[in-house]
Amino acid sequence: MKKSVILGMAGAACLAAGMATAGTLDEVKQRGELNCGVTTGLAGFAAPDANGVWQGFDVDYCRAVAAAVLGDPTKVKFVPTTGQTRFTALASGEVDMLARNTTWTFSRDVDLKFTFVAINYYDGQGFMVPKALGVSSAKELDGATVCIQTGTTTELNLADYFKANNMKYDPVPIETNAEGQQQFLAGACDVYTTDRSGLAATRATFAKPDDYVVLPEVISKEPLGPLVRQGDDQWADVVRWVANSLVEAEDLGITSANIEELSKGTNNPEINRILGTDGGLGKMLGLDDAWAKRAIAANGNYGEIFAANLGESTPIGLARGLNALWTHGGLQYSPPFR
């Protein structure tokens, strides 16, 4: 009887993997590739284009980490995860980090044993309705049919919001954003609810975006950010400071255009520290000195990443809002590189 070699390989893989218990950073370096969990497809955050190249806001974070750790932003294996499978993929070590517009909540941090390293997008759950419905506030949605993606925090927020306002609704659970869009556009639900960034991204892809309006109410706080497994502090530090370096770069005016010039040395000591001209920070992380330079050079600073994927010049057209730098009245703020 012919059997495939695969089973034997599985056995060998078990044995080999069972022995390796090195830190994630060493593992990634040894593998020469970063496994990064992303969504299966959400415009602006992560979706493969016609050439199979992943594009999006979350994708750029994965690339920045890969650039910092491995020196090459293309050495990322993107692992598409669903709302259902994302946490297991991270917990089991299938991915090294998750950048999948995931909300930082108490239970995920504490009970599910993950470490949220940064908040790269301050979001909140909102509602989108067709203009023709003549609704201007979420308080008028009593009795509405609401399309909602399952396996997310949104369905709990929704239940709480309608209960608190003493309203009734009919939930239509759907599995993917594409499915939800189809239902909403056909009028099978009156309201589509998800994070406001997602609503904007979805609305942007409509044939007639102007016929739909996002209601002003924000019914929850959804701080989104990359996360890693709890218990590997070195790796958490790497991802956290890569994320911070992107924000700090914008703060300091480092862009992908001027980074080469600035890295030759400036009279701003903070820029010198972050770009590794004044050495020392990289070694503490277990990386070389140019780590942050590569991370920033990969896709630009936070502002550039935002503008390229979600900003007002893209079809999604999100304003910075809460995600502006603290100096511009937003919440994006990096601890000092010192």
Binding site: G83, Q84, T88, T150, A159, G187, A188
Partner: protein, 417 residues
């Protein structure tokens, strides 16, 4: 003299464990059990260790905590304050419901298609062949998605029913509304309802119980009437005229009961965003139901066709030669034999339907997998417990269905003596 060699009485040697057929099977079983136990211990050990590393415990206490999410289709009372356990129960009932109605519809569809495929009518036979082949050879998941898309796109939104000059109309004298959110039917209501009985887990409508009781009594009475008519016929050779008595016994009590309860229909009406009132069969339910029934119907059609073709023509001819009427031929000769061929594969089709209901995930029908194995699993992070429980429940359902159907199969099986 014939030598009778008496086999030497060997003392037991270790090698006999392998070479002596008397002991060999024992050896194999012991070794096998040992390996199996070792494997099982290894798995359990790993699981305990992994849970320990992740800092999790193995506990079903989450079933008694607040669920926090809403379910749109529920046969028992449920809201977001109910427990995860109750959400699971709601999901389980939804699974059983969709499985039951799909089995019924698939059987009806399959029998019709199977018979028509044998029809001499060329167009009909070809049409049925196309139906059977296209559904058997394309994955169920695609059919579910396609039918869901058709229903969403083709049916009008509730908005279309609005205004003085609506673009869509309700069917059957404004009683049934077909929208892309589902179909709204009139619902039975009672002016003088008897109320509900609280059974702890769920409520039972006393009206429904009364109606069922009256119907059962009527049917028993009807049977009795038939029997007495038969006795008279056997004794006198003349069957007394019973049709008006039968009609009276079958219809009158139920009508009287319904009038007494104040039966009327509640019609769906467009109010606010949606239709209100009436029974709402959601799109997800209908899409899943249609897809499962039509898909499985194609398989059942093939089973029915094979069953009918398995009965040799001589059986029918012999029955007719014996003077049986065509109806009797079908009932007494063809059907019992065809059923013997049809029922065993039919059982496995019913099991398939039950298992395939888990594809509800594609259309967002809130079945067991969506509640216990979906939202609950996700919100509590208890993958191991939720998955094991869910598998256990599906296994139990499958075993119950197959044992009930096997029992039925034995009862219709031709007794071979």
């Amino acid at each position: 003299m014939a030598d009778i060699t008496i086999p030497p009485k060997d003392s037991f040697r270790l090698s006999m464990l392998i070479y002596d057929t008397r002991y060999r099977s024992l050896t194999i079983q012991v070794v096998f059990m040992f390996l199996l136990m070792a494997g099982a211990t290894w798995l359990v050990n790993n699981t305990i260790y992994n849970l320990h590393v992740l800092g999790k415990d193995f506990s079903y206490s989450f079933l008694w905590s607040r669920a926090g999410y809403d379910i749109n289709q529920r046969f028992i009372a449920y809201n977001s304050d109910s427990t995860h356990g109750r959400a699971m129960l709601v999901g389980l009932l939804n699974t059983l419901f969709i499985a039951f109605i799909s089995c019924v519809a698939a059987t009806v569809l399959g029998v019709i298609a199977g018979v028509l495929r044998l029809s001499k009518n060329w167009v009909v036979a070809k049409l049925m062949a196309i139906y059977v082949e296209s559904f058997r050879n394309i994955p169920l998941l695609i059919w579910i998605l396609v039918i869901f898309a058709v229903m969403t796109e083709a049916a009008p939104a509730p908005n279309a029913f609005r205004g003085a000059n609506p673009s869509a109309h309700m069917w059957f004298f404004d009683t049934i509304a077909v929208t892309n959110r589902g179909v709204y039917f009139p619902e039975p209501l009672f002016f003088r309802s008897l109320g509900n009985i609280d059974l702890g887990i769920f409520l039972v409508s006393t009206d429904l119980l009364a109606i069922i009781a009256v119907m059962v009594l009527s049917i028993l009475g009807y049977k009795r009437l038939q029997r007495s008519a038969e006795t008279v016929q056997n004794a006198t050779g003349i069957r007394p005229v019973t049709w008006w008595k039968s009609a009276l016994i079958l219809i009158a009590p139920i009508v009287i009961l319904l009038v007494a309860l104040g039966f009327h229909l509640g019609y769906p009406e467009l109010k606010g965003f949606n239709f209100r009132g009436g029974v709402h069969a959601r799109n997800s339910l209908i899409a899943l139901w249609v897809a499962l029934s039509v898909y499985t119907g194609a398989f059942i059609a093939e089973i029915v066709r094979a069953g009918i073709q398995a009965i040799s023509r001589g059986q029918t001819e012999a029955a007719l030669a014996l003077g049986l009427k065509p109806g009797q031929t079908t009932n007494l000769v063809v059907l019992p034999q065809a059923l013997r061929v049809i029922i065993p594969p039919m059982i496995s089709e019913y099991l398939n339907i039950t298992k395939n209901t888990s594809l509800a995930i594609a259309v967002g029908y809130m079945d067991l997998r969506a509640t216990l194995g979906g939202i609950t699993l996700n919100q509590t992070g208890r993958e191991l417990e939720a998955m094991l429980l869910m598998m256990g429940i599906y296994l139990a359902i499958s075993l119950i269905i197959s044992s009930v159907m096997n029992f039925y199969n034995r009862s219709v099986k031709l007794k071979e003596r």
